[in-house]
Symmetry: C2
Subunit: 706 residues, 2 copies
């Protein structure tokens, strides 16, 4: 299939405005007279609030209102994960949050909130509350495997041994396979990934105000406006339609903003104050611990390998550290467990995964949704196996990779092409892998040594069939034949609007300058969709964009039939013209057609189309990464010399944006591997480095040429 618009590296639609600084983010839109809300966070990792004396805080000039967990008359537990909802209670996310709690589960948990006329008064009031709060400390636990033990502190009553999810999966018969075969080489790997945070540029913030009689508008930096509306409804116990959520431009999310964060509290505060405008902004310090983090995961992997380099049996144990609240919960560890059998298939597999509460910040979605942790563990283990059995590690991988035609049992995703091997070929050639591998293997055993390695991954984008996949689109044609496109798969910095415009232009037959994407989502008017996450944006929006564009095209051609007299099946739209397909002749411009339709005295039509597409498939993405490093062993210093990522992304809608995505991913990967780690004070459970000075975020300066 050949494309005119898709596949071209169009400049982002938002590039110009962002470059000159006039793009409006949430804070740019908030009226300067907004009241300022600040949250009273728990000073202990686990405890029971006994009392809070508000009087000192209330007396501070500029303080408008002070609320604590004891002021919450109606206690509506609500879930926060940015998942589609389900009418089946068994498929609904677990509701374990309160707007404010008297039982804080981590150092930083939300106990109260103040609203003041300015930042200073709000901060003073928070300090006054901290001073006048009586809290009974409870024992706490920071390690997932410790938390599972009998006698560990019970963090939520609901879960036995703090285990909120357990996957237990068996393929074949591992014990029998191990017992039957001789000469098996057993390789065992333990490894752990740290807690990291998304560190998007724009900290989370939102503001809320009353509108009309009893509605509340929430403007938020979120990936999931329609889900925020639902959750705010759940958290306040009010009808969901009483809330309107608006998402302006967003300065990054990476999954953190795929959770509902402080939107419910901010809306509730505004409602308490009769609909006054209240802004709640997280500091960077709060963003680190009071938003979401990436799950720290511990892996124990064992493989029984035959001398020829094939697997006889494999075993994997996964402990995922959920922190104090469920958020996305077990779905991350479950995804890791479910993916384990696929990359290097084996007839006999045991896999167990546990997701466990600890007294740490709640872990949620983060770029890759568990797969970076899993890929890290798998590929370390793979490297160790190759070393132990004395095989070239890339060749060992090639030998065991899932074959073309492999179908994933659950998603029914099929591997259509031998993509990973192709990625291996390209990457190895680019970085001269085989030669360097031999060279470094034989290098002198000095303090400073070099190494080269490869890893691979697979990931299925979007969440079908685990959960609902739906996307909706509306298109509106203007008199000049240009169109607006509305979708809920929103721009959060990743380029969603641009690929949306390309797909719309391609299907409809118009040029890119004729497509205007309505970038700001507003749940009152934007067609329903669940937002952007799970690398789903481009994939899921494509279905409703194409379906809707085809509907609009059909409507246009039917209307044009009256004027150009050609049968609809002999017409098409090419470069903003209605053409005759038999000879390509231009019959009528879209501009003329649209104006004629709008201004027709007896059959006026504003040309629009709108539709929902329920997606029933999924897309595999695959790739490989080659990295060359120099390690100063006594100094524990790793220098990344060279890195290359090779991906099979399917049809690339916009190569420039896809490349930028990969670069961003590599940058985050470098930080994750080499420098980033949230650390905890074992005595208090407090985060030690929840700021951008002490948390060693990977930056431009730390990268080789990507």
């Amino acid at each position: 299939m050949s494309y005119k618009v898709v596949g071209k590296p169009y400049i982002r639609l938002d590039a110009h405005d962002k470059a000159i600084g006039r793009t409006k983010y949430t804070d740019d839109l908030c009226d300067r007279g907004a009241l300022i809300a600040k949250v009273l966070h728990s000073p202990v990792a686990h405890g029971i609030v006994k009392s809070i004396d508000k009087s000192e805080a209330e007396k501070i000039p500029g303080v408008v209102a002070v609320y604590t967990c004891f002021d919450l008359k109606e206690k509506h537990l609500y879930p926060t994960a940015g998942h589609p909802w389900s009418m089946d209670p068994h498929h609904q996310d677990h509701a374990d949050r309160l707007l404010m709690t008297d039982h804080p589960r981590y150092h930083g948990d939300d106990i109260g909130a103040v609203v003041a006329e300015d930042e200073v008064a709000a901060a003073q009031a928070i300090r006054a509350l901290e001073k006048n709060m009586v809290i009974e400390e409870l024992p706490f636990v920071l390690d997932a495997r410790e938390a599972m033990k009998d006698g560990a502190p019970q963090i939520h009553e609901h879960w036995k041994n703090n285990i909120i999810g357990h996957t237990d999966m068996h393929i074949g018969d591992t014990a029998k396979a191990i017992a039957e075969e001789k000469d098996l080489i057993k390789v065992e790997t333990w490894c752990k990934t740290p807690t990291v945070q998304h560190c998007h540029i724009e900290n989370f913030l939102c503001y809320a105000y009353g509108e009309g009689d009893g509605r509340t508008v929430i403007v938020a930096s979120t990936q999931i406006p329609h889900i925020v509306r639902r959750v705010v409804g759940q958290a306040t116990g009010l009808p969901w339609g009483k809330f309107r959520v608006i998402k302006p431009y967003v300065g990054g999310g990476f999954g953190n903003k795929q959770d509902v964060l402080y939107e419910p509290l901010c809306a509730w505060l505004s409602i308490q104050l009769g609909g006054r405008l209240v802004k709640l902004e997280c500091s960077r310090e709060e963003t680190f611990i009071c938003n979401r983090v990436r799950h720290a995961v511990e892996f124990h992997m064992t493989s029984w390998v035959r001398p020829d380099g094939t697997f006889a049996a494999r075993k994997c144990e996964i402990w995922s550290d959920q922190g104090g609240y469920v958020s996305h919960g077990h779905s991350i560890a479950a995804k890791e467990a479910g993916a384990f059998p696929q990359l290097y298939p084996c007839d006999n597999i045991d896999c167990e995964a546990w997701t466990v509460h600890t007294n740490k910040p709640a872990a949620g979605a983060m770029r890759g949704y568990g797969m970076p942790q899993a890929s890290f563990a798998w590929e370390i283990h793979t490297e160790e196996i190759a070393e132990k059995i004395g095989m070239q590690p890339l060749e060992f991988r090639r030998k065991n990779l899932m074959p073309v035609g492999y179908v994933h049992a659950f998603s029914k995703n099929e591997l259509y092409e031998d993509s990973i091997n192709q990625c291996f070929d390209k990457g190895a050639a680019f970085i001269d892998y085989y030669k360097k591998y031999e060279e470094y293997k034989n290098q002198p055993k000095g303090d400073i040594r070099r190494g080269i390695a490869v890893s691979t991954y697979w990931y299925n984008t979007a969440i079908y069939p685990i959960s609902l996949e739906t996307s909706s689109c509306r298109m509106v044609m203007n008199q000049d034949g240009s169109i607006q496109v509305q979708i809920a798969e929103n721009e959060i910095g990743q380029g969603a609007d641009t690929v949306c415009a390309q797909m719309a232009a391609e299907t409809l037959g118009v040029t890119m300058d004729k497509v205007h994407v309505v970038s700001c989502q507003d749940t009152d008017i934007t067609p329903f969709g669940t937002g952007v996450y799970a690398s789903r944006g481009t994939f899921v929006m494509s279905f409703s964009i194409r379906q809707t564009a085809l509907m609009l095209k059909e409507r246009i051609l039917k209307y044009a039939h009256e004027y150009v007299r050609m049968p609809v099946f002999n017409m098409d739209i090419v470069d903003n013209w209605i053409i005759r397909t038999t000879d390509g002749r231009r019959l009528m411009s879209l501009e003329e057609l649209s104006s004629t339709a709008i201004y027709h005295m007896t059959n006026s039509q504003h040309m629009t189309a709108e539709s929902t597409y329920t997606i029933k498939s999924n897309a595999l993405s695959l790739g490989a990464c080659f990295a060359e490093v120099e390690v100063d062993i006594p100094m524990c210093r790793v220098q990344l010399l060279n890195i290359i990522n090779v991906h099979d992304c399917g049809t690339v809608i916009n190569p420039a944006l896809a490349e930028a995505q990969v670069h961003g991913g590599m940058s985050m990967g470098i930080g994750y591997a080499l420098s980033e780690k949230l650390m905890w004070d074992e005595k208090t459970g407090r985060a030690l480095n929840n700021n951008l000075l002490d948390y060693k975020l990977s930056s431009f300066m730390d990268h080789p040429r990507l």
Copy 2:
């Protein structure tokens, strides 16, 4: 037909927010850092600008840019009337405006503009330009009949004798009728109505800024957002889809904002400055003369009446003062002329109407679109006839009123009921007209005397079949079964949103609290419509609201069919429930249906509907007004003692709002009749009282109980 929601006096949807002061108007939304634009107005009533030295103005600190008519490289003439467009050039409004002109046609015409960082710098720059402008004065004319004479100043080259429109209508044979009958009594009336202005609370303002690559957003206090988009495109020569017009809440329009005012200039200024945010706000003084005014009209009416009080022949001449630009042009005088034969039909009628340029501010639409002027003239004439032939004036009217079944030749509007007589009956009884008429007729002939009189009117709302009548609607259902409604017939203070919600709730079968009207129109997303004017809002929106609600209902019931298994034709929606019509049993709540549809794993549907309705009918409205006055003859002082309006409005959607509309109309009528008049300096053509101190606007204090 009985209604559940329609016909009830619901409180306005916007009442709460307006009462507590949080409603956002255009100025509330504009960023405080906006650049300020001010217009250089003509200091002469007619002239040719020879030169303007910009250097002094440009040197003023804070001045960003100075533009004059000589900087306009591309001269795109554009029309300003808020009429639907037509693809037929003969039905397009006349384009006679430039953004800035070197040939000012009235004292106040637009010659240049400055953009500065603040109001003070902008005002200084305007004064500097005024000082450094060389302008050749031309003769000017302020009276329409003078302007028609040979040798009068030619205001636009295009029109001979300044006549932009002439209606010449003949029914029967007037000369023959007069010649044939004896005993005819000839009654002749000359009268004139003054120029008045709309005086809405919120002066016109707008702001514009660039968005994306090459688009311009205009936020304006307008009645006609979609028309503004078209005209800004015409005025700048850019594709219409490159503009996006947003209409927030509006503080009144009354037809003034049914013209495109300074939106094109403001958008052009922003474009010149690379898309910077530019605000252009009219002062009250500018609003009076640089926006639009009501046409001053002179009438000459002659009737030949038989002694029995019937008409043998009638003649009417109308001269309408258009001012310096066409704007709505001849359509107002044409409406007056077209309406003349209908109120008191006669077999022999001559009617001529001229619309004529003068060197005064451009006249445009204002409440009633020419009919107040015409009704005033007709009813004065009617009163004089009754007096002359010695008949009781109300009985004389009853004798000659259009009969039930009368069909208007052009619009095909039929008079279905004897409404005017019914209004007469009700009004006369309320004010005790007949008794007071006799009493005052026989009162002593002192300096202070009382009188009572009646007048009537008819008006056809909306503009079919003169021009396109179209309305569009979109409805979006939320998970809780509430809906958003989007229409282009916008809220400008008259209550459009509330009646929209009532009609939507009625047709769909939901309660009022479940309807959320999207009040802010945005041409990027609001279904196409031409705005609110010609008393069309409620009438035209009703068609698309009903059609769209029925589409949405059908879609809901079809989806519900899967769950409740009843045939669609045996179901309906009542009070937010899907019911079985055979026994009224509740089958499923809309909330459950909507959530089920949205979250359905295999058939997810967001329930929306959207449609256009091309209106092919029109509605007559009729009424009568009784007023009782006391006149101090030597002092020329009129005191209004009592006034009552009686209307046939058809089915009233919201009695409280309809009553408020009548009260507002009465207030404007009182001012129009007794105190309001824009006056002109005959030597310079300058307005003498274009401010709210000297212009005697009727206020609350001047009214009796309405």
